[in-house]
């Protein structure tokens, strides 16, 4: 009897071990390694782009930094690598903490563009405007309307020094890993490549690391759970807010966490009431990779800058949810409806979202 139980136990352990997706674990470790390597390369190479930042782009005020982060995110269709670049520029002293904060905010504003771009592609393929663009537009509207007030709140927090005590730097054990696994490669790149190219290689690697990270995410099997009824029931805004934050903390990308909503219902629908708090939650934890990047830099105050961003957007989002959720929802949805109601409105909207970051860059 005891032997049988021991055999069953062994079988259970074996079956558990064999069920672990080792390829995904390996992919995760590889993407994490590439992320750290990329940050190091960007940090080493950022100094080489300083003349470009000061000369060609002439980034010398907050509007410029905001516009630069925003346009840069449009260009590479992702926000996180731009936020990491901002931190690399901060590390070399090319940007001060306020301009770094502005560039990170700009990166988040530009990151919403990807969801809209995918929507445009579907429209070109003959799909309906409203269906293709709703989610992207709402995501952009929520991001712009919450990040802009949060930007000013974040600047205030940074200026006040309230968050200065929250600073993190890589510890001894991390440094030892860097010495063995990262620096040999980054030093090699620095020895053979021009400094600006080291930065661009780092940028390419960080984008690759995010791509690989997406691949190692587990398949979402939320359909059968309580949360799987997200398309059928109207959830409490704070519940959806926390869900959006949790899903994005795992997926590290707002566009990815929004795409997770599709399999949550058989038809790919989500209730209007649920989507806005979800995006608000996602907009906070999407900073998690930037927070990790900040902790890998030589300057401890980089962490404070990212934290100011997270705290300010959290405050603004929670206030909106608690005080004016219904009005905010109605206005955001009306705006999205207006944009998709005609081709003319869509063109006007397209011109506005493309021209604002350029104008900010030129101020």
């Amino acid at each position: 009897m005891a032997q049988q139980q021991a055999d069953l136990k062994k079988k259970a352990i074996f079956s558990r071990l064999t069920s672990i997706p080792y390829s995904k674990v390996a992919l995760f470790i590889a993407s994490l390694y590439l992320f750290i390597l990329a940050i190091t390369l960007m940090k080493d190479g950022a100094g080489g782009l300083a003349p470009l930042m000061d000369g060609f782009f002439s980034i010398d005020n907050l509007a410029n930094s905001l516009g630069f982060g925003w346009s840069f995110a449009y260009l590479i269709m992702s926000g996180s690598p731009v936020a990491a670049s901002a931190l690399a520029f901060y590390n070399t002293g090319t940007l001060d903490q306020y301009n770094t904060f502005a560039m990170i905010t700009g990166s988040r504003l530009g990151a919403s563009f990807i969801v809209i771009l995918i929507g445009f592609i579907y429209i070109l393929r003959g799909r309906d405007r409203s269906t293709s663009l709703s989610m992207g537009l709402i995501s952009l509207i929520v991001t712009v309307t919450t990040y802009i007030p949060a930007f000013f709140l974040g600047l205030y927090l940074l200026r006040s020094g309230y968050l200065d005590r929250f600073q993190i730097q890589a510890g001894q054990s991390i440094q030892s890993i860097f010495n063995r696994l990262i620096y040999p490669i980054s030093n090699l790149a620095s020895d053979f490549l021009p400094q600006w190219l080291v930065f661009l290689v780092g940028l390419g690697i960080i984008m690759l690391s995010f791509f690989l990270f997406d691949k190692c995410l587990p398949e979402m099997a939320l359909k059968e759970s309580q949360v799987g009824q997200v398309s059928r029931l109207v959830y409490h805004p704070l519940v959806m807010f926390l869900l959006g934050a949790a899903v994005t903390m795992i997926s590290m990308s707002v566009s990815l966490s929004l795409s997770i909503l599709v399999p949550l219902s058989n038809r790919g629908f989500i209730r209007r009431e649920n989507v806005i708090p979800y995006i608000m939650g996602a907009n906070i934890t999407t900073f998690i990779d930037t927070l990790l990047a900040a902790s890998l830099l030589d300057v401890p105050s980089a962490f404070t800058i990212v934290l100011a961003g997270m705290i300010s957007i959290s405050i603004v989002s929670i206030l909106v949810l608690l005080i004016m959720n219904h009005l905010y929802q109605a206005l955001a949805l009306k705006s999205a409806n207006w944009i998709t109601s005609s081709n003319r409105n869509l063109v006007i909207f397209g011109l506005i979202i493309l021209s604002i970051p350029i104008m900010l860059l030129l101020i």
């Binding site: 969801v115 995918i118 929507g119 592609i121 579907y122 799909r127 309906d128 409203s130 269906t131 293709s132 663009l133 709703s134 989610m135 992207g136 709402i138 309580q226 398309s231 059928r232 029931l233 109207v234 959830y235 409490h236 805004p237 519940v239 929004l258 795409s259 909503l261 599709v262 949550l264 219902s265 038809r267 790919g268 629908f269 989500i270 209730r271 209007r272 009431e273 989507v275 219904h326 929802q329 109605a330 949805l333």
Partner: protein, 281 residues
């Protein structure tokens, strides 16, 4: 159906009694009118007795029961309902402005949410109930709503017209989703046997089986906004919604839509609670 009318200071009791009296005409079970006073002060008790005497005169029913209780309104009504097994409570609430919704606690709404039976919160002017708006969320409580609506319609004088409303507030969750249903009207949704179409069709059939004529309607937009818009534009005399679910974890996870409608609407609203809700609470 055992009905309790609660007199309070929130509204002209005259209008409330006119409204409540309509339910007494077709039922043989005596109607009960309850006055609740905050304390046993002489003046409070005198007011309660005066209100009950006026109710007696106004309703002029031979088997009317009048009572008064002293204490917290919500607690006292709850005790009365539990003791006497009332199936419907009717309580008045004044019309609510935007500022009211921000600063007031809405005692009548609190009563309606806490009594262990269905409740009508009466607002506005008392007029015969001809047009009823039945809001079905599709959360699986259609049978409770239909049965109660039919039960209610039987004790009301005349023929009622029931509109079954389902609000489809969904949008597409991603760019690649086929969203034809998101713009379809009621007939199209029924013809294509979509989830919403089947839902309203089942409601119509359930009411038809109970002898009530009804028509289906699906609107697209935010749930609360669309219910309020339909209630206002359709000149309904009574709006019926299901009570907030009290089964954990749903009670913490879900929005209390019934409360939002209750606070924003200026018409009589019936909040239907099924037997299973009593146990959960």
């Amino acid at each position: 159906m055992k009905i309790l009318i609660v007199l309070s200071n929130f509204l002209s009791n005259d209008e409330l009694l006119t409204f409540g009296g309509m339910f007494a005409q077709q039922t043989e079970i005596p109607l009960t009118v309850l006055a609740v006073v905050g304390s046993d002060k002489e003046s409070h008790l005198a007011d309660a007795k005066k209100n009950l005497a006026e109710a007696q005169a106004k309703l002029n029913l031979p088997n009317l029961v009048t009572k008064f209780r002293i204490g917290d309104l919500c607690e006292q009504v709850k005790h009365e309902v539990e003791q006497e097994n009332f199936e419907l409570v009717i309580i008045g609430e004044r019309n609510t402005s935007y500022i009211d919704r921000w600063i007031h606690r809405f005692p009548s709404a609190v009563v309606a949410e806490n009594v262990p039976c269905s409740a009508i919160v009466f607002k506005g002017k008392a007029k015969p109930i001809r047009r009823i708006l039945l809001c079905d969320s599709g959360a699986g409580r259609a049978s409770v709503l239909s049965q109660f609506t039919a039960q209610l319609a039987r004790i009301l004088p005349g023929d009622e017209n029931v509109t079954i409303l389902h609000v489809m507030s969904q949008i597409s969750a991603g760019p690649g989703v086929t969203g034809k249903n998101l713009r379809a009207n009621t007939d199209e949704l029924i013809e294509e046997h979509t989830r919403e179409g089947l839902l309203v069709e089942a409601d119509v059939q359930a009411l038809h089986d109970l002898g009530i004529h009804s028509s289906p309607m699906v609107r697209h937009g935010l749930v609360v906004d669309e219910i309020l818009a339909e209630a206002r534009s359709g000149d309904y005399d009574l709006v019926i919604v299901g009570a907030h679910e009290y089964q954990p974890p749903k009670t913490f996870l879900l929005e209390n839509i019934a409360r939002q409608i209750l606070r924003k609407i200026n018409k009589p609203i019936l909040i239907v609670r099924g037997n299973e809700d009593f146990d959960r609470k």
